[in-house]
Symmetry: C2
Subunit: 223 residues, 2 copies
Amino acid sequence: MQQASRARLLVENSPFFQAAGATAMTEVLRPSFTQLLPRGAVLFEQGDEPDFLHMLLEGSVGLQASVEGCGRTVVELFGSGELFLAPAVMLRLPYLASAVALTEVRVLMIPAEAFRDGVGRSHDLCRATTQLLARHWRLMVDQVVDLKLRSAEDRVARFVARRISEEAGAGDALLPEPRTAIAARLGMTPETLSRALAGLERKGKLQRGAGSATVADRTALVR
Amino acid sequence: MQQASRARLLVENSPFFQAAGATAMTEVLRPSFTQLLPRGAVLFEQGDEPDFLHMLLEGSVGLQASVEGCGRTVVELFGSGELFLAPAVMLRLPYLASAVALTEVRVLMIPAEAFRDGVGRSHDLCRATTQLLARHWRLMVDQVVDLKLRSAEDRVARFVARRISEEAGAGDALLPEPRTAIAARLGMTPETLSRALAGLERKGKLQRGAGSATVADRTALVR
């Protein structure tokens, strides 16, 4: 009961729920349910046809993609409040990546069919979906630019900065994901990630902690 | 008159028009107009607020992103029938990249406000937009995986293969864009691109031409 109302609150505070509105969300939420999964759990696998749209309520999920003979990488990390992967659900196409819990996660499972029906019936839900997809496209564009133009140290600095609220301008950036997952997300080896963090520490831009980094000045970090 | 009806046909055959339907498109097309622009023309600049949504009717456009002190790159190439950049238009946010005509282009200019109004009024147009954005997200995910995992030669092979219809399975892949733009799109130098094409030719996977590559077996090219 306590857990159910906590999950409810997390759902209602998500940007997608706020954009779609309570009326549009009611029907989508009726057949949905939450799951608590341990670190390492696989939510879905690359190549699967989507049965659910997932909304992460707590924790961190990595989108992991493999190419035969070339190994695997992390395409993106999603934190609490994020919906994934609406593109595969909307297009009824196999997932381009697996989703792996990088911490313990609480996740809302929205049946894919219910979501597609909802988008077909509710214009508000459809509009919220365009906002979500537009935002996610920009995340990927940002990553492509990062990979093509920025040095490892710059990429790490921007990644850490995004974990601190712009308003606060300083604080602890939580990095609960395994070092290997963060490195893969940033397109570098774990060793390069460690060197970049050490380099930023030497320059006084952050202080490394266990599963976090303390930043005194967010603006200076990304300058 | 001849030109107007040709443009009309190109618009009506675009995947977006097909998805949205003629009724939904009528109001969006009323204030829209086409432009014929020379190679090198800048359709919009990174940092600009979008005034138009662009639909490419003929030619090729490159999305070019710059980072101060780190140079510039090509985020994506768009060919005829593609709409760009709906995410910036929908979110009313500055463009993350400039759009540069890489060939002579014919482009339909849809006023951003008219498009947003249309998406707000027409559920069909809104649904077509979710399909478009979902497809574009998957393009970027594919590119991120490419950049992180695949060799230069594999990336070039897949790029060339995408320019040949899957049904045909063979034929001439048109590559009308400047070599530098294709190389930047693929996250490599022009020299690496040339070496990769030469390598693929040596393996009998393609034959280089002027602004094209002849592929005898599309499946063998990407194997």
